[in-house]
Symmetry: C2
Subunit: 142 residues, 2 copies
């Protein structure tokens, strides 16, 4: 019913607002520093954290669409931040691995990421920050 519906307390709206707020704050950093898109940053971060992966494995880790991953990989490759290696056993597969430059960019953004995370944690307070993280993780199983 219309009367029971309140936009301000509708969870998809609340989540989206908050998510934009939090995401865009950090996006400014990788965008201004390296002109990266979010997909590119996420691929870089995933490769940085897990080492060499295939495109499909990146899809699994990030939940990004495979075309986004394909394009992000291409773009990161153009920057010479990653190199591809054909898998010997299965020639459909390419192992993707960051170059020294890629790792260096990743490390630089990690520092910024840690600082940003700390900023948000200080804003919310340790307890609320932990609570929020737990709740968000719980929502993955929705």
């Amino acid at each position: 019913m219309k009367s029971q519906f309140d936009l301000q307390s509708f969870l998809p709206f609340l989540m989206h607002h908050a998510s934009e707020k939090v995401s865009l704050g950090f996006r400014d950093i990788y965008r201004d520093r390296y002109r990266m898109t979010r997909s590119e940053w996420r691929v870089l971060a995933t490769l940085g954290q897990y080492g060499a992966l295939t495109a499909t494995e990146i899809v699994t880790h990030t939940g990004l669409h495979k075309t986004k991953v394909s394009r992000a990989v291409f773009s990161i490759e153009k920057r010479r931040w990653l190199k591809r290696r054909q898998d010997e056993k299965d020639r459909r597969v390419q192992r993707l691995e960051l170059t020294a430059q890629g790792i260096s960019a990743f490390t630089s953004l990690c520092e910024a990421g840690v600082a940003y995370n700390r900023k948000v944690r200080e804003f919310l307070g340790d307890d609320d920050f932990a609570r929020l993280s737990d709740l968000l993780i719980k929502l993955n199983d929705l």
Copy 2:
């Protein structure tokens, strides 16, 4: 530092994942039922809840970019779900108001929205749901 950085606990990632999860669940409803985009749904909902508004007021309420609002209004108008009325005093301004059909679509989606919200609340439990809402609202002031 790279070592201190963990993707899984990085708030922008957590938020975005959770937000997509929650938002897409409801998007399926308005998309399948009316072929609406998110912008269109948000404009419809805002007009439904607050009555007649100008485009700029919708921007203020939703945080949507003004071009998105402009396009969404045009598209909703094409469906004959809203009508424009020129403001007499300021001819730059248009008052936007839902038609009976628009209100009917809004009402129908409100029911679905209430049901969806309830589903998520039952999944999380009342306490966690309330806590999450509070935390998300708090983040608006970040």
